[in-house]
Symmetry: C2
């Protein structure tokens, strides 16, 4: 056909994701990307078209990997409440341990880009949907197992837990210690 690429676009998207995650969309310059990916500007624009297009690919990648990871954690064996607490605690610890305090790319993007980038908003909406579904399934399982009051609406519980995660990942960006998030987790698990 023609000359093959000297870099792997999939790896490049991963690297771009890291940059966007750390700096945000607007604060990331083409030069930042070129530096991080180790390729020339020509290759960058030839391969991805625009900063925004590359960002969208990175965001989709992020969404898929994160959603998958969450579902996996929630599907581990054991009592439902324990699994929920484990998942929330793992998230909190991850965010607090990150030296850059980047939080969640999806959350950050919702705040920075949802108003102006409809495609990004769509990606994010889909992520909220999937997260809600995962928590709803967990809640329903808890009800079947007798751990959660069967009179409650599992869909509402799913939305609530999704919302809790969103809040926590934002709060984690300015939290100075684990206390605030620990209280959130405690009260949330006790609410079921």
């Amino acid at each position: 056909m023609a000359r093959p690429k000297e870099f792997d676009p999939e790896i490049a998207v991963d690297q771009a994701m890291e940059v966007f995650w750390r700096k945000g969309y607007a604060a990331t310059t083409p030069q930042d990307l070129v530096d991080a990916l180790g390729i020339g500007k020509g290759s960058l624009y030839n391969a991805f078209g625009s900063k925004q297009a590359l960002f969208l690919r990175a965001l989709r990648r992020y969404r898929d990997s994160q959603t998958e990871a969450l579902i996996e954690v929630l599907e581990q064996p054991g009592p439902v409440k324990q699994r929920l607490r484990g998942a929330l605690t793992a998230l909190a610890e991850m965010d607090l341990a990150d030296p850059d305090h980047r939080g969640c790319l999806a959350v950050n993007t919702t705040a920075e880009r949802a108003g102006v980038d409809q495609e990004a908003a769509e990606v994010l909406r889909r992520m909220l949907d999937r997260t809600e579904e995962a928590f709803q399934a967990l809640a329903a399982e808890g009800q079947r197992a007798g751990e959660i009051d069967p009179g409650r609406d599992p869909a509402a519980l799913g939305s609530m837990l999704m919302n809790t995660v969103v809040g926590m990942r934002l709060v984690a960006r300015i939290a100075q210690g684990p206390d605030r998030l620990t209280r959130v987790i405690d009260a949330t698990v006790d609410s079921l």
Copy 2:
């Protein structure tokens, strides 16, 4: 002493707040501010020093007015759960009714600036504190009134409700209808 300002700096801060709120920090240019405030660039920089300094003033203003408003709503008479539902519903309706879907300036700023602007982070932390306190007071009142299980930790409940609000205001930015937020509110109120 000297020539008086031809504009009111307090009003200017309010107008700047609107611009930052709608566009975000990075996407707001000095020109945007000059246009919105109706003053010259010279006056702008003479009065406020820098874009960042003006932003901080606007953010503090936002925090104070919002925190005050929330406390006021929560202190209305009536059953605690009803007041909580009323406050959450009012927030959701406000955010959804906003044609620009700007969400909450504080939430947006946490995502966009907390990592790089320590002063802003401090302002935001203070806002979380105050919000937590307000909800904690509400929870304690609910316990005294017999509406809420006295065995639960009011501080944890305060943190949870604060976190719920943060999450909701973020989710509101991409919500397409009231359903998701309504479910969050229902499940949250039912959790007490």
